[in-house]
């Protein structure tokens, strides 16, 4: 089974904060990490490989330093790491990103399954998986929580929705996005760490993947950010003072006045 896992390097979102005076992100000291959802994707790819044979490739688009994320994939057990890096890719939205990834997947050639994390924690769109499936012309299932069975022609996957779990038969080649809970990601092993050290991450440019310049990066992105602001919180909170008993009584009477109690 040939599996391609798409991964993204993201800023560690829990560490990011905003300078209230300038409306800008404070980035100093914020680490870049592999998108947490992508760790589940890598793990699921490795498990499928171990069960059914084949190879796992990790694929990413990003600046040169995103090589670290692909190295991480290699040290977990992937055979090949490919980084799409080109100044022309800069400013890509989810449409341009999925076009670029699709061109790379097509260059890789034969695949049975593409696995993506459900969403990246920096953008939180959950667009790239389904959009990439469309560009590849393969079917997809989002939010997979369990894989029941895989054959050469199809897989049976379980996805979660708001109120149910649905078993879906997906013909292959296909794409799935996986969510938290599908597995418990492993730690890098010594054997694979050595492998990672010996394996070169391949870096492909826009030219290498034969990308149409008008479809990549900012030029290929229909959406455009026009403004960044800090979220407005404007409730003039009323402080309830006194000992606990008074505070509570005060609150209750206020809530009754407003008819929510």
């Amino acid at each position: 089974m040939n599996i391609i896992v798409c991964v993204k390097q993201v800023p560690d979102i829990l560490e990011v904060s905003v300078d209230k005076e300038t409306n800008t992100l404070i980035r100093e000291g914020v680490d870049s990490v592999i998108n947490p959802f992508d760790l589940y994707a890598v793990e699921e790819g490795l498990r499928l490989k171990e069960q059914y044979g084949g190879q796992v490739y990790v694929l990413s688009m990003g600046p040169p330093q995103a090589i670290a994320t692909l190295r991480q994939g290699l040290s977990l057990g992937a055979e090949r790491g490919i980084l799409l890096s080109d100044i022309g890719f800069a400013g890509a939205d989810t449409l341009a990103t999925s076009y670029t990834l699709a061109k790379a997947v097509k260059k890789i050639g034969h695949f049975d399954l593409v696995i993506c994390g459900r969403q990246a924690v920096d953008g939180d769109t959950a667009h790239v998986g389904p959009s990439l499936a469309e560009k590849l012309g393969v079917p997809h299932v989002s939010c997979v929580i369990k894989i029941h069975e895989v054959t050469e022609e199809y897989m049976i996957a379980e996805r979660i929705t708001e109120d149910a779990k649905e078993k879906v038969k997906l013909s292959l080649p296909g794409l799935i996005t996986v969510c938290k809970g599908i597995n418990e990601p492993r730690f890098p092993s010594l054997k694979w760490k050595i492998n990672a050290a010996r394996t070169r991450v391949e870096v492909w440019s826009a030219h290498d993947i034969g990308a149409d310049e008008s479809k990549i990066g900012l030029k290929g992105s229909p959406t455009r950010v026009v403004k960044m602001t800090t979220p407005q919180h404007h409730r003039a909170g009323q402080m309830l003072e006194g000992p606990v008993g008074e505070q509570v009584a005060d609150l209750v009477s206020k809530l009754r006045e407003r008819q929510v109690l």
Binding site: I13, V16, V18, T22, T24, L25, P63, A90, G91, D93, T94, L95, D122, G123, D124, T125, A126, G129, S131, L132, E134, K135, P139, H140, V141, T161, E162, A164, K165, E166, K167, V168, K169, L170, S171, G174, K219, S221, P222, T223, R224, V225, V226, K227, M228, T230, P231, H233, R235, G237, Q238, M239, L240, V244, G245, V248, L251, V252, R258, V260
Partner: protein, 423 residues
């Protein structure tokens, strides 16, 4: 598209450095340098440099679609077993406002098997037209078939704006549709308005985990597509008198391939006190300390007939399960009353609950950001305040019960004395 610094005009004042949300600008030797790899071409620096006009965005000749050919605000009417999802009524509410400011119609597209009766509901909730596609093959949601029909409808009728609920279905369908149409899609919008000058849709959404709000446009492509989480906008009132047209969509010329197949659906046991629909939510955070202490949240919720919510850290600590999580990675809620106990108010949490009608915050740290969004603030130890509040509520409930029995008794005696009823 590009950006450049005009060296002769740049004074090296660093205003642009501060304005750049992406940390892409550095100033060396009194000259700003923009790192293109980091730049998102948002124009914040251009705005900040108004005094010197030393930065300019370079627009290349972009092919623009003939926007005048695209008319109407459309809502994807998600349904399950013929019942329209609530988020659709919320989108119709917002969509009507947008349609009104554009002087264009608001329409819904309804796909399913024998769902025609639901089309009337969509009209009562504000749709001028309903495009109806019915087939056995559309009985359950499958990405392939729905993408085919939805894109078919859009290509034929050319709407200006298409809105989807950011539900598990919407999140899987919308990106596929946008990808096939080669147009823009903005996820999880919390604000939608029409730019009065350009008539483009201004789509505002949280970015970087909610630390910033980004306003996004789709200037040269149509339709403009956006998804919105449930409970972000208010639904319109149902109006039985509203008139509208139902237009059957004949997609027989489309081949509906179906490369995925739904084998089984296991309904999750209805969770008591689900937060999505609750009118009152009592939410606990990391400030409670441990799983044992978290139980006081459940007790208060029980006394109030409320649902239990939680911050991400409380869920990650295993004190309470994931469906209870409120916030960026959890659910967006909009109850009448939200009581945040021991929740400091990380921005990721705030984006999920700040549109609640009334917010109460209980926290020992007076500087906690949760107080900025609260209507009533109690600075104190949650382990003291919450149980005290529970007691107070229980007292009221008991008193109300007594009152109720007394009233019933009085009524009974009145009826008897007036001779209405013989005892």
């Amino acid at each position: 598209m590009g950006i450049r610094v005009i060296a002769e005009k740049c004074s090296g004042c660093k205003l642009c450095v501060k304005a750049c949300p992406f940390g892409a600008i550095t100033v060396t030797k009194k000259l700003a340098r923009i790192d293109i790899a980091k730049c998102n071409f948002c124009g914040a620096c251009v705005e900040a440099c108004k005094k010197f006009n030393a930065i300019e965005l370079i627009y290349e000749n972009v092919q623009t679609v003939d926007k005048s050919k695209y008319r109407g605000v459309w809502v994807f009417a998600e349904q399950k077993m013929g019942g329209i999802s609530d988020v659709v009524f919320e989108l119709l509410g917002k969509g009507r406002q947008l349609a009104r400011s554009l002087a264009e119609p608001i329409c819904a597209m309804l796909l399913g098997d024998q769902v025609a009766s639901a089309a009337r509901d969509l009209i009562c909730f504000g749709a001028d037209k309903v495009y109806l596609a019915e087939s056995e093959q559309l009985g359950v949601f499958i990405e392939d078939t729905f993408t085919e029909v939805v894109t078919g409808l859009i290509k034929e009728h050319k709407p200006n704006i298409v809105l989807f609920g950011a539900t598990s279905i919407g999140r899987s369908l919308a990106p596929r549709v946008a990808s096939r149409l080669e147009t823009g899609l903005t996820a999880d919008c919390t604000g939608l308005e029409i730019d009065p000058a350009t008539k483009d849709l201004l789509q505002t959404r949280p970015a970087f985990g909610g630390n910033l709000m980004a306003t996004i446009i789709c200037p040269n492509h149509r339709p403009q597509m956006a998804s919105v989480r449930p409970k972000v906008f208010k639904p319109v009132q149902r109006n039985e008198l509203r008139m509208g047209r139902i237009i059957k969509y004949d997609y027989k010329n489309h081949t509906l391939t179906q490369r995925a197949q739904l084998l089984a659906v296991v309904k999750e046991a209805a969770k008591t006190g689900g937060i999505a629909e609750a009118e009152i939510i009592v939410a606990g955070g990391f400030g409670l300390g441990d799983a044992e202490n978290f139980k006081i949240i459940e007790k208060l919720a029980q006394a109030m007939g409320a649902a239990v919510g939680a911050s991400r850290r409380a869920v990650d600590s295993g004190w309470v399960s994931l469906p209870n999580q409120v916030g960026q990675t959890g659910k967006t809620v909009r109850p009448k009353l939200y009581i945040a106990c021991g929740i400091s108010g990380a921005i990721q949490h705030l984006v999920g609950m700040q549109s609640s009608e009334i917010i109460v915050a209980i926290n020992k740290n007076p500087q906690a950001p949760i107080f900025n969004v609260a209507d009533y603030c109690i600075v104190g130890d949650v382990l003291e305040v919450v149980p005290a509040l529970t007691k107070e509520i229980e007292k009221i409930r008991l008193a109300e019960q007594d009152e109720l029995t007394v009233t019933d008794g009085e009524l009974e005696s009145q009826l008897v004395s007036s001779g209405v009823r013989q005892s």
